[in-house]
């Protein structure tokens, strides 16, 4: 047989590595051909490697060639190998070709390359770690390993693309790479040139089409149902039987919460929202809500937990906003701080403290840190060329300049950072700068400024990261961002600004300057804590006892993972530094981005006007949390998840379990006599509960939510199969069976109510009230599934937990909040608006839409009249009137009539 290969073809790697198998069994000739030669007579497009068999037939699939070599050596096919090879061909290859093309042909780096394959890499890692075997299909290296190793080698041989947190993948890959056949194949194909050796071949290939939309999918990877051992089942049963007595005593919540030696002390921060913006759903899920879930979970574990956040209030943006609204900066901050606090209260965020940065403590601590840095020689002084807008008569803060990014050429780069390539920019380096306010071209003027000497601190930072990162739960994107910053080398960063609204700089000659927000905003966490307790240093200067979790969107990673640690290390004051940096990706809105200026998307204050309860918002946002990849908020999907997951799955199960107790057993939990099937169910639930804990301990919030839904699915199935509503009418044995099934089901419901607490606190409390769950069982979650509602326990009144979302309701919400890019672009074409900053965007509506709205107004008008005629409940009427007003408003908008000045709206 004859093998045709071509220089730099990626398929050569697995084929050559597998070829060793046939040595001594068959004669194998290897010929090199050009990348465009058609070696297979019946294929129109060239394909290498190709194996011409002695029969004259051809194998043109890389995996099949490898398979053939293995088969010749006596190997037998099996399901697991088939499954890996099919996965490799259908899932891994499309993603991998896109990544390699980016890297090798287009010369891109970083997330552009890793992004498409991350999901696939994670899949391999999870499979390896779940099955506890060193190789993909068992204890020894086999076909699946060679094929996947060969496919991945070009990418993963560069450590930058082998994420270190994927430990199982890491060791699997290293093991294979050091084996002789693989090593030799790698040398032959890559010729010590690394991935660039593939260039001559890949350049000649068509650009691979991007893999199926998987980048913005909301579907998780499903976990497989594990097989249970007898011991596991026995242990689950023992734990269950112990019941309530295995719960430790409840710890009273202290005020103030302070670290306790010998306990787990968890300090949680959520990125400080900038005060003058109303946060949108993306901001909410990115930090405050994510951190809230973890804080609530942490309290359920009885860890000593402090969760803090606050508004970030200093800076130019505040000054400008104050000018716009004719208020002082302080007044603006006071006003918006309340708006923020209200939104988070509505979302049920369980802050221990929600503070602000404009306090004397902030000045004191910031100035102290600065002084220590200054005396230790970490502050530089330099003259800065700065952009000044003569028209507006002021120095322009970075975010008030826009221009072309000097690195990637992106047209709308901001003065501090480019949204496209993510690089930090010095505003004067921008090409074609423009003042964002008046659009005139600013001039460069010089001014004295202070710099943080990051290069001098780099070594300490690396030492600290070297100790902190391994084994920690920093998210992959955070690790990646920090790594790429360090690779590019740190540069001194300016920490002062020509402004008034900020923390004053305590240094002669700098009286009219303040600290730049990114230097002192992260100090906000400390000062907010200091306003909460005078013993704040027990949290913040106590790295030995405190575990610091910081939540943010990925654009905030450099400040938390790099700049603040450098400042803190430079003070030599033993500050508590971030142990786990949890960064999310971005949440999109429908098919586009959230945009305040274009009125697209749902903002925190609007969520409450939709009539959808806060817990439903929480659930859906957490369900689509951009964990590991971007995700998208979609109204249709929200309706679907509410109706399928909450209503039909979770709500249905919990309601049925409770109803059976009320209806068939007079409200008292019946006796339970567990059969082997019940015991297996116990063990499955326990396993899923453990999984939930493992995930939440690693702050994989979105994945852990799936465990809850999985358990309730098990529960529904269990009820469905055992049909207690039929058995209750049967003989004695049947009735006993109905009792056991009902009792076990209602205990699963009780467990779910606790697991749900971090995600949907109100629903959780409702369930616990309905079931009259004993107090300690509500507030503590162990790793075992306990019988917390023993036989004889009396439950309360059971009622449905969730409401169906209707299509027309969601449609009208979707219309109200803007439906994504398509409509948007149409709208922009239709109306060329002279003013770019129109806040209330007008949706151009066709005559049909207007007709639909008019009909709705009429219908709603009738509803209101009817209710009034029936003398219905006032609140109900008010709600319907609100709907009517909203519809009228939409109609006015659609018809292009001027809005009546904000009648029904609270906000100006």
């Amino acid at each position: 047989m004859r093998l045709f290969v071509s220089e730099g073809a990626p398929g050569n790697l697995p084929v050559l590595a597998a070829a060793g198998r046939v040595r001594g069994r068959a004669e194998l000739l290897i010929s090199t051909v050009g990348p465009e030669e058609c070696m297979v007579p019946f294929l129109t497009r060239p394909k290498v490697p190709v194996l011409q068999l002695d029969s004259g037939n051809y194998l043109f699939s890389t995996s099949s060639i490898c398979r053939y070599f293995f088969l010749l050596s006596g190997w037998e096919q099996d399901d697991l190998t088939n499954q890996w090879l099919e996965w490799e061909a259908t899932e891994l290859q499309p993603a991998l070709s896109a990544a390699l093309y980016c890297l090798v042909v287009q010369g891109k780096k970083g997330e552009d390359v890793l992004g498409p394959v991350r999901r696939a890499l994670t899949h391999i890692d999870h499979s390896l770690s779940r099955q506890n075997c060193p190789f993909l299909a068992g204890e020894t290296e086999s076909l699946a390993d060679i094929v996947l190793w060969g496919a991945l080698y070009p990418l993963l041989q560069d450590p930058a693309y082998l994420p270190e947190e994927l430990g199982a993948l890491h060791s699997w890959f290293q093991t294979l790479s050091t084996q002789e056949p693989c090593q030799r194949a790698a040398e032959t194909v890559l010729k010590q040139q690394g991935v660039l050796a593939l260039r001559p071949y890949l350049q000649k290939q068509p650009q691979p089409s991007p893999p199926d939309e998987s980048a913005v999918t909301n579907e998780p990877e499903e976990e497989e149902l594990a097989t249970l051992s007898e011991e596991e089942i026995a242990m689950a049963v023992t734990a269950w039987e112990k019941g309530l007595e295995s719960l430790p005593p409840l710890r009273p919540r202290q005020n103030p919460v302070l670290p306790v030696a010998g306990e787990r002390n968890v300090l949680i921060t959520s990125a400080l929202p900038y005060v003058n913006n109303v946060p949108h759903l993306g901001n909410i899920i990115g930090c405050v809500l994510s951190a809230d879930v973890f804080a609530r979970y942490s309290r359920l574990r009885q860890w000593n937990t402090l969760y803090l956040c606050g508004t970030d209030e200093y800076g130019t943006a505040t000054e400008t906003k104050a000018m716009e609204e004719g208020l002082t900066p302080q007044e603006i901050c006071d006003k918006y701080h309340v708006i923020h606090a209200d939104i988070y209260r509505w979302f049920n965020i369980s802050f221990d403290i929600f503070g602000r940065t404009t306090t004397p403590q902030q000045t004191k601590i910031t100035q102290d840190i600065f002084q220590r840095l200054l005396t230790r020689g970490f502050v530089l002084r330099d003259t800065v060329e700065q952009l000044r807008c003569e028209h507006c008569a002021r120095f322009l803060a970075d975010r008030f300049v826009e221009g072309v990014c000097p690195f990637c050429g992106y047209e709308e780069a901001r003065g501090d950072q480019c949204d496209k390539c993510g690089k930090l920019i010095n505003a004067i380096e921008l090409k074609k700068p423009q003042c964002k306010v008046c659009r005139s071209c600013p001039v460069v003027k010089s001014s004295q400024h202070l710099f943080l000497d990051l290069p001098k601190l780099e070594k300490r930072l690396e030492e600290w990261l070297g100790k902190t990162l391994p084994g920690s739960d920093w998210t992959p994107n955070a690790r990646f961002i920090i790594r790429s910053w360090l690779r590019d080398g740190l540069k001194p960063r300016c920490i002062t600004r020509d402004l008034k609204w900020g923390t004053p700089v305590p240094l002669e000659g700098f009286e009219d300057k303040v600290f730049y927000v990114w230097f002192d905003a992260t100090i906000g966490y400390l000062s907010i804590t200091a306003n909460y307790t005078d013993q704040w240093e027990r949290w913040w200067k106590n790295p030995e006892q405190v575990d610091l979790y910081q939540f943010m969107a990925k654009d905030n990673v450099p400040f938390h993972g790099l700049v603040f640690p450098c400042s803190a290390l430079g003070t030599e004051d033993n500050y508590t530094l971030v142990s786990h940096l949890i960064a999310t990706e971005y949440l999109n809105y429908e098919d586009g981005k959230f945009s305040k200026s274009r009125g697209v998307g749902v903002f925190g204050d609007m969520a409450q006007d939709t009539g959808i309860p806060a817990d439903i918002w929480r659930f859906y946002l957490l369900y689509i949390r951009p964990e590991g990849q971007d995700s998208a908020f979609s109204w249709a999907d929200m309706l679907l998840k509410n109706n399928s997951e909450l209503l039909n799955n979770l709500g249905n199960f919990i309601n049925r379990a409770g109803m059976f107790v009320s209806k068939f057993f007079g409200g008292y939990v019946p006796e339970m006599v567990l059969t082997p099937d019940d015991q297996r169910l116990l063990a499955h639930v326990t396993l899923e509960l453990r999984h939930y804990h493992q995930l939440l301990e690693k702050v994989r919030i979105r994945d852990a939510l799936r465990s809850i839904l999985t358990i309730s699915r098990h529960g529904n199935q269990y009820i469905q199969v055992n049909e207690p509503w039929k058995r209750i009418k049967g003989n004695e044995a049947d009735r006993q069976r109905a009792g056991t099934v009902t009792g076990l089901a209602v205990n699963i419901a009780a467990l779910l109510s606790v697991m749900l607490q971090p995600y949907m606190p109100t629903v959780s409390t409702t369930i616990q009230d309905q079931l009259q769950l004993p107090r300690p069982a509500c507030s503590i979650l162990l790793t075992n599934f306990l019988c917390t509602l023993p036989a004889g326990h009396q439950i309360g009144t059971v009622s449905p937990l969730f409401q169906k979302l209707e299509n027309d309701q969601i449609e009208s919400l979707k219309q109200r909040f803007g439906g994504g890019q398509l409509e948007e672009s149409l709208e922009l074409k239709a109306k060329v608006s002279p003013k770019p900053e129109v806040v209330e965007t007008v949706t151009t509506a066709g005559p049909q839409q207007i007709q639909v709205l008019m009909d709705e107004v009429t219908k709603q008008g009738n509803t209101v009249r009817e209710l009034k005629a029936q003398k219905a409940d006032k609140n109900q009427i008010a709600a319907e009137v609100a709907k009517l007003l909203e519809l009228k408003k939409q109609l006015a908008l659609a018809e292009g009539k001027p809005l009546e000045t904000s009648k029904g709206k609270k906000k100006k």
Binding site: P41, F42, L43, T44, R45, L53, S55, N57, L59, F60, S61, S63, S64, I65, R67, Y68, L71, L72, Q77, D79, N82, Q83, L85, E86, W87, A89, T90, Q93, D212, E213, S214, T217, E219, E222, E224, L225, A226, T227
Partner: protein, 141 residues
């Protein structure tokens, strides 16, 4: 044809009496089979090969090493090339290639009917109404 329907059809033609239930995963609705012992199986060709073994018809996976490799090659071809959402030109090329390959053959492996023929036939079904003109009938069992 949805993957689950296709697998049900295969069960029937293999003479399997027990009907399996399939779930689907992800956007592409990849079929998943939950087996009684051990973990689930994912993927059309993986499950199909598993069913063939259940039905004790291993010969449908090929008898020699060469046949086995060829069967798997065309199964892979089915899920990567035939199932790809291609434009008309791609489909034309695909059918032309297949036609050229089958010119001197009765079945994909030559003279023996295998699982590859079954799944490729199912997979091509959706094109055939569009491209009546292309000669494919040699392949039909």
């Amino acid at each position: 044809m949805a993957a689950a329907a296709e697998l049900a059809l295969l069960e029937k033609s293999l003479g399997l009496s027990k009907r399996n239930k399939y779930s689907a995963r992800g956007d592409r609705q990849i079929p998943v089979l939950q087996t009684n012992n051990g973990p689930s199986l994912t993927g059309l060709t993986t499950i199909a090969a598993h069913l063939v073994k259940q039905a004790n018809k291993e010969y449908l996976l090929g008898s020699t090493a060469e046949e086995k490799a060829i069967v798997q090659q065309w199964l892979e071809y089915r899920v990567t090339q035939v199932d790809k959402h291609s434009n008309k030109d791609d489909i034309r090329t695909l059918l032309k290639d297949l036609n050229a390959y089958l010119e001197d053959k009765v079945y994909l492996t030559g003279y023996n009917f295998t699982l590859a023929d079954i799944l490729l036939y199912y997979g091509l079904h959706r094109f055939i109404s569009i491209f009546i003109g292309v000669k494919l009938t040699t392949e039909l069992p």
